[in-house]
Every structure is written in structure tokens, then in C-alpha cells.
Amino acid sequence: MIVYILCFALLLVGIYGALTKKDLIKIILSLGIMGYSVNLMIILFAYKKDAGYAILVKDAVSTNMVDPLPQALILTSIVIELGITAMLVALAIRLFEKYKTFDITKIRRLSG
């Protein structure tokens, strides 16, 4: 149980960072932390104590193995997060070119 609570705490750290930090790069890192915590949590859902890996080996019958599906899901989700992070960093670079700052309190031409 404690691991799930710790994962959830990590998620909250990420949300807190994304909502309160004023630096573009720190916001991107906070989003990364959020993503890692959810990935970790889904991997932990699949965990079984003393279980083997879920690979079919010839002549070896494994009855007790971890659930392989969440691992496949997390691989997909990691790739998506990589893309989103690259996109955010690219946007941050362009914003720096235009505004000469990473401070979001100074990047406010849109309002109302």
C-alpha cells in the first residue's frame, strides 16, 4: 500500500510544480515528474511478489508471472511523453527567441 501512496505523492509533487513554478523549463520538468509517477504506478499495479518475467521459454512452464500488459502500455506512454516533452522544449526555445525570457510572468501578451 505504501508504494502506491508514495507514487501518488510524486504525482502531487508534479502537479504542484506544473501549477506554481514560473520557469518554463521547471514546468516541463514537473510534467515529466507527473508522467513518471503515473508510469511507475501502472507498473506497480502489474507487480506480483516472487513472480517471474512474462516471457515464454521453450520447455519451461511458468505459472507465476507478472502481468505483461501494463509494461506494454507504459512503453507506449513513455514514447508519447518523449514526443510531448520534445514539443514543449521546442516551444520553450521559440518562446525564448521571441520574449528573451523563460519567466512565464513576463510572457503574457494574451489576456482577458
Partner: protein
């Protein structure tokens, strides 16, 4: 089977466009328009042949608990028709507009646009909840790039804000999917729906809260709306039309209705939340819109308000309310896209979005100002345009369901909408500024996109005639109302 082609065609078109396009964007335009026309034809054909049936496509020959399945029923086909119709008009409008804002590399726009269509078609067609997440990310990823396509400082700012909010909501949705998987050990939506009643009922509330926040952010319902006015007003006009017209519906409203009605079985507590959030969205959206002088920003705030009507209609959860909401989904897509085209046409030719700087439009841009009149009357709910009928149905349904308070707020919201569009017409299109006739007018593609949608704004009122309603809207309402039907139809038992 038709369903896989609705995903394959735009995906293939996106990759072909990147391969064959050189300096010019001619081939990109031809390919993307051909792709979207074939998608629209397929969607229309399958919508009228589906009726009350449900068809399943199981990918790569595996059977249902092991595979990703695509589900074809009246609701998903209805949404696919809306998406591909707006995509077609948006592409017709894009040709001149995108050449105007981006002199080079316009083919990138068409590749991204095709990926956006892929993502939305996939979200609508899929019957697997993780697959839904992946297609959602494809659609969102291309919209982040498309919002920033113009390359101005404000556009990067809006795109960054949108991307941050989008990835927070996606993370919440992924967490919800993880919790749902750990509780039910399956990802097929129909299986989840079958297993959920047999396990601890608290799971539904935990997951429901996560999905409500996640998909609510995508649909821009009231407490989660802050990103919408920036993103939708900064994007290029055809993309604003896609975002406001269909993206918030496909990724937000459609998925929420699928999950909360077909999977969770339409719990009363979520219906109440829908009604309250819908009513709050109607009022706050329209009040924020009243004070706006930036045309596109005003339209973006009205999107929040109109989505409120749709959510209110679904929350009422009686057949009449859902009929109104389903009808308003189509109507809002038609007139809001048309209004964004009008705004884009004015912005391209006069170089301004400020209503105070417009004026005299009936002389210099006759097609734009005439179609904007049609769209304004539709969104304000004037008979005989489509907006009148869907809003009337939702309001009558609210009274019928015993919620006269919500009906009152909906009527008040409609009056404010009328006031705000009278402002647009009076100060914007029929304003007193004497503006010289510019050298270039709207191109043929832009004009035809606007005229098609203006005609449809009037024609779609006919969907309410009983004979036509029975073959178009009623099967959709049946799918949403029939809560256990989804399980039976998809799992075949």
C-alpha cells in the same frame, strides 16, 4: 469492413504528403482533399447503413479480450460524419489562408492536419480504452503544432499553455485508465462495462473523478476552460474551426458520454455534475464573451457556453435532453466553424480581428458578411435556423425532467448570446467605419466553404422533422440511452 479505412486513409495521406511534397503545396492539397472527401463519403455511407446495428472490427484476427476492437454504431458514425464534414470545409478554406500566413512549407500544415483527422477518427471509432488514449495523443500532438503554425509570439504562448494543460489532463486520464485496468483486468470498453457492476462501487467514483477532470479539460467545461480562449483564438482560422467545431467534441464530449453513459451506466451523481457544470459553463462563457472586442476570442468564449448546452442536455439523461444535445453537437459544429471562417476571412483581408476596426463589411465582403449573419442567427437561436431547435429541445427537456432552474439559466444564456452577436453584427460587420474596398477579396475556396456551411445551417433544421429524425438522430439517442446495450452489442451476448 469500413472502420479501419477511416483511420488508415488519413494516416497514409499524412505520410504520403511528407514524402512527395517539394517546395510547392499543390500535391499536398490534392492528396488531403481527396483523402477527406473519401472519408466523408465512407462516413456518410456507413452512417446511413448502420441504423440500429452495431458492427465490430477485431484487429489482426484475434478475438475480443485480446485484441483492439473498433466499434461502429450510430453514435460513432454520427460523430465521424461531423468530423469529416468540418474537416473538408476547413481544408477548402485553408488553401488560400495558409498560403497567406506561411509562404513556405505549407505542406507541413496538410500533413499535420491529416494526423489531426486520424487522431479524431481513431478516438471515435475505437472500442479499447488505451487505444483511445493513444489516438487522443496523436490528435493533441498535431494540434499543439498547428496552433503554433503561424509562428508569431502569441501563437507560441498559446500553444505552450495549451500543451501544458493538455499533458496534465492526459496524465490524469492515463492514471484513470491504469486504475480501471487494475480493477477490471481488461482494456476493452465493453468488457470493463460488464465487469464494473460486480466489483467495489467506489472504483467508479475514483476513476470517474479522474476522467471528469481529464476529459473535462479537453472539452473545456467551466472550471477547466482557461486554456481554450487563448488556443482557439491564436490558431490559424481553419484550425480554430476544427478545434472549436469538432476537437473539443470528439475528444471531450464524445468520450465523456461514451464513458459515463455506456461504460459507467449513467450514474445519477455524474448526471447532476454534468447539469451543474453545463449550466455554469453556459452562463460564465457567455458573460465573458459579452465584454470581448476581439472577434475570435469572443467566438472562443461562446464555444465554452455552447458546450455547456450540450453537457446540460446529456446530464438531463431523458431521451428528449439527449436528443437536443446530440442535435446541438452537429449544429454547434456547423455554425461555430462558419463563424471562425468569417473571422479568418476578415482577418486575412483587413488584417484585424478587432470589432471596433471593422465596418462597412456588407459592401466590401458580401459573402462573408451574409454568411456571418446566418451563423449569428443560428448561434443566437433564431428560427428557422438549426440553433433554435436544438436549444428549444434542451430547454423543454429541462422543464420536463423537473429542473426549471436549469431551463431558466439556459434561456438567459441564449438571450445573452443574442445580445453578444447583435454587438458583432452592429459594430463589426455593419459598423460605421468607412473602409476602402481592398484589392483582394475572399478566394473561391473560402467562399464555397462558407456558403456550404451557411446552407447546412438552414438545411440541418430539417433533421427535427419526425420522418428524417427517425433515421438520423433517433438511433444515436438509442445508443446513448441503452446503457447495457453497448455491452451486449459489442460482446455479442
Amino acid at each position: 469492413m469500413i472502420l479501419p479505412f477511416l483511420i488508415i486513409i488519413p494516416l497514409l495521406a499524412a505520410f504520403l504528403i511528407t514524402l512527395i511534397s517539394g517546395e510547392k503545396d499543390n500535391w499536398a492539397i490534392v492528396l488531403s482533399i481527396l483523402a477527406v472527401i473519401s472519408l466523408l463519403a465512407l462516413a456518410l455511407f456507413s452512417f446511413f447503413t448502420t441504423g440500429n446495428d452495431t458492427f465490430i472490427y477485431e484487429m489482426s484476427g484475434w478475438k475480443i479480450p485480446l485484441t483492439i476492437c473498433l466499434v461502429q454504431d450510430a453514435f460513432s458514425m454520427y460523430m465521424l460524419v461531423i468530423v469529416n464534414l468540418i474537416a473538408l470545409t476547413s481544408l477548402m478554406f485553408s488553401v488560400t489562408y495558409i498560403r497567406h500566413i506561411a509562404a513556405e512549407g505549407a505542406w507541413k500544415y496538410y500533413a499535420l492536419f491529416m494526423l489531426l483527422v486520424t487522431g479524431m477518427n481513431g478516438v471515435i471509432a475505437t472500442g479499447d480504452i488505451f487505444n483511445l488514449f493513444v489516438f487522443m495523443e496523436i490528435a493533441l500532438f498535431s494540434t499543439y503544432a498547428l496552433v503554433a503554425f503561424g509562428g508569431k509570439a502569441e501563437e507560441y504562448e498559446a500553444a505552450f499553455k495549451y500543451a501544458v494543460m493538455g499533458s496534465i489532463s492526459s496524465t490524469l486520464i492515463l492514471l484513470g485508465i491504469g486504475v480501471l485496468y487494475s480493477a477490471t483486468s481488461t482494456l476493452t470498453m465493453a468488457n470493463i462495462a460488464a465487469i464494473l457492476p460486480t466489483i467495489n462501487p467506489q472504483v467508479v467514483f475514483w476513476v470517474g473523478a479522474l476522467f471528469l477532470a481529464g476529459f473535462g479539460l479537453k472539452a473545456a467545461i467551466m472550471p477547466f476552460h482557461a486554456w481554450l480562449p487563448d488556443a482557439h483564438s491564436s490558431a490559424p482560422a481553419p484550425i480554430s474551426a476544427m478545434l472549436s467545431g469538432v476537437l473539443i467534441k470528439a475528444l471531450g464530449v464524445y468520450v465523456m458520454v461514451r464513458i459515463f453513459f455506456n461504460i459507467f451506466g449513467g450514474l445519477a451523481v455524474f448526471n447532476t455534475i454534468f447539469m451543474v457544470l453545463g449550466t455554469v459553463s453556459i452562463m460564465i462563457g457567455v458573460l465573458l464573451a459579452l465584454g470581448q472586442w476581439d472577434f475570435k476570442r469572443l467566438l472562443a468564449y461562446h464555444s465554452i457556453s455552447q458546450i455547456g448546452y450540450i453537457i446540460l442536455g446529456f446530464g438531463l439523461a431523458n431521451p428528449l435532453g439527449i436528443l437536443g444535445a446530440v442535435f446541438h453537437l452537429l449544429n454547434h459544429a456547423l455554425f461555430k466553424s462558419l463563424l471562425f471562417y468569417n473571422a479568418g476571412s476578415v482577418e486575412m483581408i483587413l488584417g484585424t480581428r478587432n470589432l471596433k476596426k471593422m465596418g462597412n463589411m456588407t459592401k466590401i465582403l458580401p459573402v462573408t458578411s451574409f454568411t456571418s449573419m446566418v451563423a449569428s442567427l443560428s448561434i443566437a437561436g433564431m428560427p428557422p435556423f438549426n440553433g433554435f431547435f436544438s436549444k428549444l429541445i434542451i430547454i423543454v427537456a429541462a422543464i420536463q425532467a423537473g429542473h426549471p432552474v436549469f431551463a431558466f439559466w439556459a434561456v438567459l444564456g441564449s438571450l445573452f448570446t443574442l445580445a453578444s452577436f447583435m454587438k458583432v453584427q452592429r459594430y463589426g460587420f455593419r459598423g460605421e467605419n468607412k473602409i476602402e474596398k481592398p484589392d483582394v477579396g475572399a478566394s473561391r475556396g473560402m467562399k464555397s466553404a462558407m456558403i456550404i456551411l451557411a446552407v447546412l445551417c438552414l438545411v440541418s433544421s430539417a433533421l427535427i422533422i419526425p420522418g428524417i429524425r427517425e433515421v438520423t438522430l433517433d438511433p444515436v439517442v438509442t445508443v446513448i440511452m441503452n446503457k447495457t446495450g453497448y455491452i451486449h452489442e459489442v460482446l455479442g451476448r
